[in-house]
Symmetry: C2
């Protein structure tokens, strides 16, 4: 594990405004880590709307199963997150631990267990002792004065920095805020798993509208990033809308046709894409942030498959690490994606430098110009397939020896 | 690039018997490498039957296009292979270079260009100067006295050892031999590409029968290995059957129903699987050879998808490198494969040690016993899904810092 902060970390943290009725509490339950917080409890006002998207893994964790089961209610009163243990691949005991965790929170906050959303991140296959939550939750529920930064820090596993983002939207003259936290990048470090993100807003939005917006925006944010192509058993994104802006005159957004929906969705997009980029910037061993743009593919879906094929190719990622403008590996990754492509119409850019044109090395190719682009810590690779109008953008990072060291040298 | 031979290399090379009418010639054409052979010419008797399988890449190389076009004829007189330049992503010039190469060989051997099979391996996107072949082919065609080991060495790029294999089969009282050479493992090193294998036999086998056997056996040999999940633009496997055993009384095998077909196919399988394993053992930076066995999946196809999901997972591969019995990463890779799976029926073994049972850590799990297995340089990981009868086996290697160094530190 690396102790140093990623060189791609943001230079400063945003100032996130407080949100009426959204209260954070953190504690040290000693689940795995010592000397740091590992439990986050978020209490929410009554009638808070909730929407969620989860891992597509066939081996999802117990907390993911729990959240999927309660999500249809559409409302939430609390969120409990722990780091250090994923409660994944823990069988019947894992389900019991999830239920017991929700019950402990419900007892303290005076709500039903099915109002309590759960997320766990950490070791797979190790039973989670929900009893560890009893004392700390009693203790912290009363204070609940932690900051957004505290909240973001409590859910970290081997993240090298806490991730938070905030934006504002104007909904018919009423200003609302959308603020979120996130952790992780793929399957992070020894035994660790999980990409988690929790977004909160004081806007009044119906749960089904919130769910539609979340599902759409996930595609171009959290589902458009990859560090190592590995999918966690615990990936969870939840959005909570408290509706407290109603006190300032905001009426509910109940349909996607509401003209204010677009403004809200745009602000949600800003926060989700910002958090997604921060996750990639904290990818294990990452030294370069890479944006892959694929255009003029047969369809948007096809473009995204090709973009992910490039972003997940170990040979492409090691070339980026080596500052090598190795566009032959881009050709290879396009070719293996299995999507419609015509070799002789393919063009490729590294930054502003066109390196390949119509299926051949660009006639004006300059090794020096391409090499200069590769020295940057943010690199855009653009691929034009020349066969349609589909496009996609994904974010990834390079594959370095540090990645292998983090994931192979040490077992926790 | 590493100068040292893979620690997983075979301890010795097999003695491969000469084959009537199959003559090897090698030369130093200076295509890219200096001080080593980089051209292999194989001349074959008239009426040699041929079968081939090729990369599924949408950006296949010019030699792959050439071979696919001439394969339907079913016969071959020569094979020309060069290392150092893949003649891939070279547009119209690449096609011309392929045609010219075949013409040069045809002129010297007195056959038609469409009797000459081609394979190129090396840099992508660099025009191939076929003119370099003119002198050397004139020169070597006359001598043609190179050994099997010479032939295997001439087609290497960054392979750390030459790969060859041989087997015998008895076809109705007549002994025939099947011998082959191979190179590569995925996309090997800076700018390098390609897995190539060429197998030769003196058996008399009809081209369509040979093609059927080759296609079937490729699935459990060359299509069941992965180093880094990256698919080359040049992957090519060709089998040539000279039929010279007819001189010793072997009558032709013209259908798969011929009782001798099974014996021949079994020997072909032995050679192909041996060569495929040798490729994995020479995977970039490999220190461990890993066999993944998936059983009781919904179908064989599903089992193979799951096995490859495990074998291609960077986190699984780094855990193997770190001698970490991290079965949580196997669970993750099963979960992300997208195939039918029931978390609570999943069991996992590392070597003989059962580490997970019915979706939980095995009650008798011993960290020491599992750790001892991980120290071996050959490790079998077995996954039982408990939902059907499908099974598959794939071979892979670990992901080490050396892999990143080979592919990222240096540009040729």
């Amino acid at each position: 594990m690396s102790d140093s902060v990623s060189p791609l970390a943001p230079k400063s943290y945003p100032t996130v405004p407080a949100m009426d009725g959204v209260r954070f509490a953190t504690a040290e339950a000693g689940i795995k880590y010592k000397g740091r917080t590992d439990v986050l409890l978020v209490s929410l006002p009554e009638d808070t709307a909730v929407a969620g998207v989860f891992t597509k893994s066939k081996c999802a964790s117990a907390p993911v199963d729990w959240c999927k089961a309660i999500l249809p209610h559409g409302t939430a009163r609390a969120l409990l997150v722990n780091s250090g243990n994923a409660n994944a691949f823990t069988g019947k005991k894992g389900h019991e631990a999830a239920g017991l965790s929700a019950q402990i929170v419900a007892n303290v906050l005076g709500c039903r267990p099915e109002d309590v959303f759960l997320a766990s991140t950490g070791v797979i296959g190790e039973p989670l002792d929900a009893g560890k939550f009893v004392g700390v939750i009693d203790q912290i529920a009363g204070t609940a004065d932690a900051s957004w930064l505290d909240a973001a820090a409590a859910i970290m596993t081997t993240d090298t920095y806490p991730k938070l983002s905030t934006a504002k939207a104007e909904l018919g003259g009423v200003e609302v805020s959308i603020s979120g936290i996130a952790k992780g990048a793929g399957m992070i470090a020894p035994d660790m798993a999980t990409m988690l993100s929790f977004v909160f807003t004081d806007a009044l939005v119906a749960p089904d509208v919130l769910q539609t917006m979340l599902s759409v925006e996930t595609q171009d944010s959290f589902n458009a990033v990859t560090v190592d192509s590995d999918t966690s058993t615990s990936d969870t994104v939840l959005v909570f809308a408290t509706g407290s802006a109603a006190g300032r005159g905001q009426t509910s957004i109940d349909t996607m046709d509401d003209p204010r929906a677009a403004a809200f969705q745009a602000a949600l997009r800003t926060v989700m894409q910002d958090l997604a980029r921060q996750i990639v910037r904290d990818g294990e061993g990452a030294r370069k942030f890479v944006e892959i743009q694929v255009e003029d593919a047969e369809s948007d879906v096809s473009a995204k498959t090709i973009a992910l094929s490039i972003a997940n190719s170990p040979l492409f990622k090691t070339a980026i690490a080596g500052e090598d403008a190795n566009w032959g590996r881009v050709v290879m990754a396009v070719g293996k994606a299995g999507e419609p492509a015509d070799r002789d119409r393919l063009s490729i850019w590294f930054g502003d430098i066109r390196v390949a044109l119509d299926g051949e090395r660009d006639p004006g190719y300059s090794e020096e110009a391409a090499a200069a682009v590769m020295k940057n810590d943010q690199i855009t690779v653009r691929v034009n397939l020349g066969i349609g109008t589909g496009k996609a953008r994904v974010w990834t990072c390079d594959l370095t020896k540090e990645y292998v060291a983090i994931n192979g040298d040490y077992r926790s």
